[in-house]
Each structure stands twice: as structure tokens, then as C-alpha cells.
């Protein structure tokens, strides 16, 4: 075919092929392959001063990169030896792009050198190749930029999501921390156990965005007692707080007790007991419970629940959050409970002791006093009998003597720690005045008017003053004691100051420990200040409502 028609036809076909490549490397490979096909060449390559961009004709992994770079740099015609194909005549044409690149073409055989028209075609192909590769490079860069931009946008979206999730989690954690702090503050202030339980029920319910929260304690014989209950404002939630309820098989409480692990109840369990009836009436859709572990034993549980009017059950992971919360609370809760129990126990001790004293008082009045009256009457009758037989008189005297010994024995038996009658009859003010009068150290009283107080308080205050006066006389060598007492708001305040030696130390076994116990038992507070040589100052504060029921 005449070169005149052959040349443009080949160039057009080459151009069509190379421009169909989608990337710069693909365009390079396409160019060398199509040039080799068009010119029946064994080798075609695009060679830069430092690398081979594209090449065909050598076995895989056996491209003589250095030889090709040398030939490309020289630019002159060379002979290339291709294993298996023999010597090839190499021609080179420079490319506008990539920078410094050469198009190398080598054909086997004695007439392997390019004819004039073929060399022209190669130059044309080189121009097309440069343009196509440069364009592809721009497109590649643009594509890479777009991909990078897409990647960054995706990354930003991911980071934003992560940040939002972290912020939400932080808010949650902050909520949980605040809740814990509120409960911890209550515990530190030694608030009443009921208040702490109520706080725990409410905080747990609120943190998990539930409709109700409760704290319950497991009792003996398969029962539990709901200690506190919180429900979303506006919800009528009649649960038997304080009442012992029997555990039912399959109930959340039973599962928590048995497993000692958090548990969930998402579906309605067909049960027929009291709990099921309550749950049915309330329409609880989803409940979770976590155990309160005290001393390695399941002491109770904290439970939260949502109503069936909610579209979704409590979310996954709620168990762990409740468990974390409960675990942190367990210590506080058990401390509060232990404290509450101790206080109640001490109160009971005091009440028992005081009751004993009242019984002794009655015994004295009803027993010994009556016997003494009887004895006096007997003796008066003996006297009035006048000239009686000496033997009869002796017998009567002997009987009276025996009766006196018997009364003395009984009196000795019950004489310790008797309620002064004046305290139970006249109240704290007159009793303290009587005490001050009998004291061996001059005592100045300053008593506000406040009427009668609950008996345990009056008894405690009386004995505190009594013990303090005894201490002042026996240990402190005081010359005067000032006692002031008054009621402010809901607290009875008692101050006792002496001018003695000071240096009183509860640890050294003074009677102060007994005072501390007594004050503690009533939920009160005792402050002792006794620097050596500066006298002793006691301040006692007793709540008017001691927080226990006898």
C-alpha cells in the first residue's frame, strides 16, 4: 500500500487506541504495544533518564533497564539483542512528555531499520503518545485529587460521627458522674438510708432514661422488699414499697438473685403471681436489673424499666451501664444500710436501757416503797401496842430487821442508774437544776425555755450533763462548770464548759466514750475541745427527730 494512505491510517488507529486508555500508565503501555504492532517491531519502550515507563518485547521480569536507558540517552541508532529474537535495529524518537523521555523501537532482522515513512510514523506516534500521556496525567491528578477530596470528606464525616458519639458518651458519663456525686454526697452526709435508696432509684432511672427505677433488698425465704421507688413524674406507679413480696420463678429479681449478674426481661413472661399482675397492670415492656453485691452476696438489686408505650426496649448495653452504676453504689449503699442498722441497734439499746430504768422506777415505787410503808406501819403498830410481851417484841423487831435486810438487798439489786423521778415528771430543766444543786463543783446553768422533748433526748441530755459534771469534779479539778442548753430549729444544743485541767481524751477511757455512744445512737454529734490547761468544752447537738422508730 502507498505510504501516503498507509501513514495516516496507522496514525489514526494508533490515536484511537491510545486515547482510549484510562490512566497514564495504561496509555504508555497501549502506545508501546500499538507501535510494535503497527511497525512489526519486537521491542517498543518509553524510557526516561531514570526509569522505563512502559515496554514490550522482553520476557516478564527480564527488562534490561540500564541498556534501554543508555540507548535512549544516546539517541543514536543501536543494535539491541533480544534473547530468542536475535539482533534488532533500534530507533529512538524524543517525547515531549514524560520529561526527558524517549520512544525506543527495535525490529529484528537484517532489514530491521525503519524506512523513512516508518520513522515519520514513529514520530507521529510519539507526539500522540506525549499528548495522551500528559492528558491522562492531568486526568489522573484530577481523579486522585477528587478521590482524596472524597476520602477526606468521608473521613471528616466519620470523625464527626465519632465526635458526636463521644460527646454523647461524655454527656452520659457526666450524667452518671453527677448522679454518683449526688448519691455520694448523701452518703458522706450520713443521710438516712431511705433517702439514699430513694436517690439511687431515681438516679438510676433517670440515667438510663427509664420510666421507673427501684432499689430492693432480698430477704430470707425467697422474699424481697422494695426499699425505694422512683417513677417518671406523672406516672401512677403503685408498687408495694416497704412490703415483703415473694420472689417468683422467672421474674427479673429471681434471675438477678440466682445469677448475681445483670439481667434483662424484654418480653412479657406468662406468670401468674403478684409480680406478674403488677407488671401487667403497669404495662412494663422492658426491665433490667443489676445486683447490689455486699460481702460477696447478692444483697439486693437496682432495677429500671420502660413502659410498653415506648417504641423501643431499653437499648443494648444498658445492663452494663446499670451494673457499673450499681457496683459503684454497692459500697455506699451497704455502708448506709450498715450505718442505719447500727444506729437502729444503738437506739434500741438506749430505749431498752431507759425502759429498764423506768421499770426499776416502778419497782421502787410499787415494790420497795410499798414494803417500806408496810414496815413503817408494822413498827408503828409495835410501838402503839405498849406493854407487850418482851418475847413478842423481840420477834416483831427481828421480823422488821429481816424485812429491812430484804428491802436493802432488793434496793441494792436495782439501785444502779435510776431515772430520776424529777426527769420523767418535771422534764429536762428541773432535772438539770436538781443535778446542779447536788453537784460537788459549783455549776452555773443557762437553760432556755423549750418545753418537753422526746424522752430519749431528755434522758440522753440528762446523763450527758451528769457524766460531764462527774468528770469535771473527779478528773479535771474544775472550780466551776457552765452548762447552757437550748433548742434551735430541729436540734437540741447542749454546751458544757469547765475551767479544769483539760487534756480529756476519749481514747484514754474517760466516760466520754459512753457519751459519744449515746449521742451517736440518737444520730447526734459531739464535739470535744480539751487542750491541756485550758479546761474542757463539750458541744452536743441532737436532732429532735432522731431518725429511728422505737
Amino acid at each position: 500500500m502507498p505510504a501516503l494512505t498507509w501513514f495516516p491510517q496507522q496514525l489514526v488507529a494508533f490515536l484511537e487506541a491510545v486515547w482510549s486508555a484510562r490512566t497514564e500508565p495504561a496509555a504508555g503501555l497501549m502506545a508501546v504495544e500499538r507501535a510494535a504492532e503497527a511497525l512489526d517491531a519486537e521491542i517498543a519502550a518509553i524510557v526516561c533518564p531514570d526509569r522505563v515507563v512502559a515496554v514490550v518485547g522482553y520476557p516478564e521480569g527480564a527488562v534490561p533497564v540500564r541498556e534501554l536507558i543508555v540507548i535512549a540517552a544516546d539517541g543514536a541508532h543501536h543494535e539491541l539483542t533480544v534473547p530468542g529474537a536475535g539482533p534488532c535495529q533500534a530507533a529512538t524518537v524524543s517525547l515531549d512528555y514524560p520529561p526527558g523521555a524517549m520512544f525506543v523501537l527495535a525490529r529484528a532482522g537484517p532489514d530491521g531499520g525503519l524506512r523513512h515513512d516508518e520513522a515519520s510514523l514513529l514520530r507521529g506516534m510519539a507526539r500522540v503518545t506525549s499528548m495522551a500521556m500528559r492528558t491522562q496525567r492531568l486526568l489522573d491528578d484530577e481523579r486522585a485529587g477528587r478521590e482524596e477530596s472524597d476520602r477526606q470528606a468521608t473521613e471528616n464525616a466519620r470523625l464527626l460521627t465519632e465526635l458526636t458519639q463521644r460527646q454523647a458518651r461524655l454527656t452520659e458519663l457526666a450524667g452518671e458522674q453527677a448522679a454518683l456525686r449526688r448519691v455520694a454526697t448523701l452518703v458522706a452526709a450520713q443521710a438516712a438510708a431511705d433517702r439514699i435508696f430513694a436517690a439511687v432509684a431515681e438516679e438510676a432511672g433517670r440515667i438510663l432514661q427509664a420510666d421507673m427505677g427501684a432499689v430492693a433488698k432480698f430477704g430470707p425465704e425467697g422474699c424481697f422488699t422494695v426499699l425505694a421507688l422512683w417513677a417518671n413524674p406523672g406516672l401512677d406507679f403503685p408498687f408495694p414499697v416497704g412490703e415483703q413480696v415473694r420472689l417468683e420463678e422467672g421474674s427479673l429479681s429471681a434471675r438477678v438473685l440466682r445469677s448475681g449478674r445483670p439481667s434483662r426481661l424484654d418480653t412479657y413472661v406468662a406468670a401468674t403471681g403478684r409480680l406478674a399482675a403488677i407488671r401487667d397492670r403497669l404495662g412494663l415492656r422492658s426491665m433490667i436489673g443489676a445486683p447490689i453485691m455486699v460481702g460477696g452476696r447478692v444483697w439486693g438489686l437496682v432495677t429500671v424499666g420502660v413502659l410498653s408505650s415506648r417504641p423501643e426496649a431499653l437499648p443494648a448495653g444498658s445492663e452494663q451501664r446499670l451494673a457499673d452504676f450499681t457496683e459503684l453504689l454497692a459500697t455506699a449503699v451497704s455502708n448506709a444500710q450498715a450505718h442505719s442498722e447500727l444506729t437502729a441497734s444503738r437506739a434500741r439499746i438506749v430505749v431498752t436501757a431507759d425502759e429498764t430504768r423506768r421499770r426499776i422506777e416502778r419497782n421502787l415505787h410499787d415494790g420497795i416503797q410499798q414494803r417500806l410503808v408496810t414496815l413503817a406501819l408494822t413498827l408503828r403498830a409495835v410501838r402503839d401496842a405498849g406493854q407487850q410481851d418482851h418475847a413478842d417484841l423481840l420477834a416483831a423487831m427481828s421480823q422488821a430487821g429481816d424485812e429491812l435486810v430484804s428491802i436493802l438487798d432488793e434496793l441494792r439489786e436495782i439501785s444502779r442508774g435510776v431515772h430520776p423521778a424529777i426527769l420523767s415528771q418535771g422534764g429536762l430543766g428541773p432535772a438539770l437544776r436538781s443535778l446542779a444543786r447536788r453537784a460537788s463543783v459549783p455549776t452555773v446553768l443557762d437553760i432556755e425555755e423549750f418545753g418537753r422533748l422526746p424522752q430519749p433526748l431528755e434522758v440522753a441530755a440528762y446523763y450527758v450533763v451528769s457524766e460531764a459534771l462527774t468528770n469535771a469534779a473527779k478528773h479535771a479539778n474544775a472550780t466551776v462548770v457552765h452548762v447552757n442548753i437550748g433548742v434551735k430549729d430541729t436540734t437540741l444544743r447542749l454546751g458544757i464548759d469547765d475551767d479544769g485541767d483539760g487534756g480529756a481524751d476519749p481514747a484514754r477511757g474517760s466516760g466520754i466514750i459512753g457519751l459519744i455512744d449515746r449521742v451517736d445512737a440518737l444520730g447526734g454529734k459531739l464535739t470535744l475541745r480539751s487542750p491541756p490547761g485550758e479546761g474542757t468544752s463539750l458541744v452536743i447537738e441532737l436532732p429532735l427527730d432522731p431518725g429511728y422508730s422505737s
Binding site: M1, A3, T5, W6, Q9, Q10, V12, A13, F14, L15, E16, A17, E33, A36, E37, A38, L39, D40, A41, E42, I43, V56, G57, Y58, P59, E60, A62, V82, P83, G84, A85, C88, R107, A108, G109, D117, E118
Partner: protein, 386 residues
């Protein structure tokens, strides 16, 4: 003691129950076979047939494909099985199959090419490729294989046929019967291997510019619907022309893509879209190419056969051929007619000098000896094994 290299062919009637066994027994002259090559008619139970061959050859590497007619020393056949065995320590063989090749023809070509062994003691090498004759762009297979082998290793082979049904061709590898695949045998030999290629077609009329094409579809020639231009050039009335008459006409008039050497690269038109007025070729016709309509006559085709034979045997450098493999375009069968192809086969047998001949009528021929191009149509490709 068996010879260092041997080449034997066995044949059988594919419809016979024991065709595979009989052909294998005839080919397995000695017990040191290194490669079996099976060409057979697509009719019948191919899995059973390959199983029969394997029952005789055991684990000897096997490749093969379905055909549009088989070739042996005795002449052209249809409905037969031809088993060729290469044996002896003079051959070192590797085989490969790239299944599901249609999605990545270049990758399939590269994978197939990697089977070629390269022992220093066996310096003569060739890659034998058998491909799916209905795959879209067979040039990509050649490019893929070339990227692995480079210019130093020639390729030969053919595109599998299906008796001109143009529906599905089969390739064999080991005991497997594949479709849409490339199978290959890398042959390294102590003896020379000679390749001959020739078609004998000539251009008629003025060249035409391919103004629109995509892969195998030629949509327009000189900016007019390709089918209309094609029919007009051949004197047919494009308005009255019946689609069922196209294969016979197209078979005798392929497209020739102009080459700088003056020898056209022939492209076989196998179908047309009468709505879009497009032509379909088994190989790519690049947009921007100049193409001619081509024709041939019996004498030109037979003259080409002679040239191919001469080139193939001459490439042996004086060695005597042990056998010859032929990949002959099915369209040449159409041009030559029964008498012509018998004459052609006898010519081949003579050129082989009494050595056995095996081959098949193909949908495309592969011969790459020089440059990168390796896919042909309407061509006879011969591999002489010395």
C-alpha cells in the same frame, strides 16, 4: 529404547463408543508421552471422550479443543477425534488453563503463557495456544502472552470451533472440559520447531476507512452503514438481501486490514446486525483502519498452502519433521471445496515427508514469529516439529 523425541497421531470416529480410547492407543506409541493434544468434533459427549483418552494416558498433560473439522494425514474429516502425542525426553512440557477468560483476555493470555518451561538443555520453544473462537478480542490474548514471553518465544495455535454453529466452543485441559477459556502448552524441545503462515487472499476494489467500530463490531465504513457498503461492493441488493444468505457470502469475502508490508491482515465476518446495519468479525477491526474487501480462488489458496509448508519445514534448518500441526481457517474449506481441501491436505502430508499430520479447521489462527501481531484469519498456520 524409545527415541529422544517422537510424534504420533491417532484418530477415531467420535460417534463410536470407544473413539477416545482407540485414538489414544494409536497415538501412545511409547510409554514416555509428554503431551497429548486432542482436536475433536463438538458433537457427542466430550467429557466421556476426554475421560477415555485419559484412561489410556493417565496423568500425561493434555490440552485440546473442539473444531469446525479435523485434519489428519488421511484428509479432512468431520465428527472425528484426533489425538496427537509428543513424547521422549527431548520434550519438556508445561500446560495451563485460564478459565473464564472472556472477562480479562489479556490476563488469560498472560496466565497461559507462564506455563512455558525454560530448561537450558531444551533451547527450542513455542507456546501453543487454543482459545475460545467466539471470544471478542483475541488480540488481547496475544498481547497478554507477549507481555510474559517477550519477542524470544513464538506462538502458534488456533481458535476453537463448533462446526460453524457459532454458539459455544470447548477447550480441554487435563481431564476438564472448559468453555470461554484459554488453554496452552509450553513446549521446550531439543529439536527445532518451524512455523509457516500464509493465507492467499487478495484485496479487491478501493480501500475503505473504518469510520466507526467498537471491538468486534464494524458499524460504518466511509461514514455509511457497514453492512450496506459491504453488500453494495459485492453487487448484492442490500434491500432484498436475506440474512440467512450472509454467512456464505461473507465466508468468501473477508475484510483485509492494510499493513505496511502490503500483506493484509484478514478479518472473518461471521454475522451482521440487520437492524443496526453492522458487521461482526471474530477479531477486532480498529476504528481508523483502512480495510479492503478480499477474495480468493482455489489456486491462490493452494499456492498459499505451499508457501506455508515450505516456510514451516525450512524453519527446521534441514532437520526432518517428526510431525506437523495444522491450524487451518474454516473459511479456506469453503473456498477450496471438498476436492480442494483434500488436495491441500495431501500437499501438507507431502511437505511433512511422511511424518504424521494433525490439525483442525479453526475460527482464527495464531502465529506470532515476528513483531507483536499474532492473530490471523483465513490463514493456514503450520508448526513443524523436528
Amino acid at each position: 529404547m524409545p527415541p529422544d523425541r517422537w510424534f504420533a497421531v491417532g484418530t477415531g470416529d467420535a460417534s463410536a463408543d470407544d473413539a477416545g480410547r482407540r485414538a489414544a492407543d494409536a497415538a501412545l506409541l511409547h510409554d514416555d508421552a509428554k503431551l497429548l493434544i486432542v482436536f475433536c468434533s463438538p458433537a457427542g459427549n466430550l467429557r466421556d471422550l476426554i475421560g477415555q483418552v485419559r484412561s489410556r494416558s493417565g496423568g500425561v498433560p493434555l490440552i485440546g479443543c473442539s473444531t469446525a473439522g479435523e485434519i489428519t494425514t488421511d484428509g479432512p474429516r468431520d465428527g472425528s477425534v484426533v489425538v496427537t502425542a509428543l513424547g521422549g525426553d527431548g520434550f519438556v512440557i508445561g500446560t495451563a488453563a485460564a478459565a473464564g477468560a472472556s472477562g480479562d483476555l489479556r490476563g488469560a493470555g498472560a496466565r497461559a503463557a507462564r506455563c512455558l518451561p525454560s530448561p537450558a538443555s531444551h533451547p527450542h520453544r513455542v507456546l501453543l495456544l487454543l482459545t475460545d473462537g467466539l471470544a471478542s478480542d483475541q488480540d488481547e490474548i496475544i498481547r497478554g502472552a507477549y507481555s510474559v514471553l517477550g519477542a524470544g518465544v513464538p506462538m502458534v495455535g488456533g481458535c476453537a470451533g463448533d462446526g460453524l454453529k457459532m454458539r459455544k466452543t470447548f477447550q480441554f485441559h487435563g481431564g476438564r472440559v472448559l468453555t470461554g477459556s484459554v488453554v496452552a502448552a509450553g513446549i521446550a524441545s531439543t529439536g527445532p520447531l518451524g512455523i509457516g503462515v500464509q493465507h492467499g487472499w487478495r484485496a479487491i476494489g478501493e480501500p475503505m476507512l473504518v469510520t466507526r467500530s467498537s471491538t468486534n463490531w464494524v458499524d460504518s465504513l466511509d461514514d455509511r452503514p457497514a453492512l450496506d457498503v459491504f453488500l453494495e461492493r459485492l453487487g448484492a441488493d442490500s434491500g432484498q438481501f436475506r440474512p440467512e444468505d450472509l454467512p456464505a457470502l461473507a465466508l468468501l469475502h473477508p475484510l483485509g486490514i492494510s499493513r505496511h508490508s502490503g500483506e493484509e491482515q484478514v478479518r472473518f465476518i461471521t454475522a451482521a446486525d440487520f437492524t443496526r446495519r453492522s458487521l461482526f468479525s471474530t477479531a477486532q477491526v480498529p476504528q481508523g483502519s483502512l480495510v479492503c474487501l478480499m477474495e480468493a480462488d482455489t489456486s491462490a489458496v493452494l499456492a498459499a498452502t505451499t508457501v506455508a509448508c515450505y516456510a514451516s519445514v525450512a524453519a527446521l534448518g534441514g532437520s526432518i519433521p517428526l510431525g506437523m500441526l495444522a491450524f487451518d481457517c474454516v473459511a479456506r474449506r469453503g473456498v477450496l471445496g471438498q476436492e480442494g481441501i483434500e488436495k491441500e491436505i495431501h500437499g501438507l502430508a507431502d511437505a511433512a515427508g511422511g511424518a504424521p499430520l494433525a490439525g483442525f479447521y479453526s475460527y482464527g489462527e495464531i502465529a506470532r514469529t515476528h513483531g507483536l501481531r499474532g492473530l490471523h484469519n483465513y490463514t493456514l498456520v503450520l508448526l513443524s516439529v523436528a
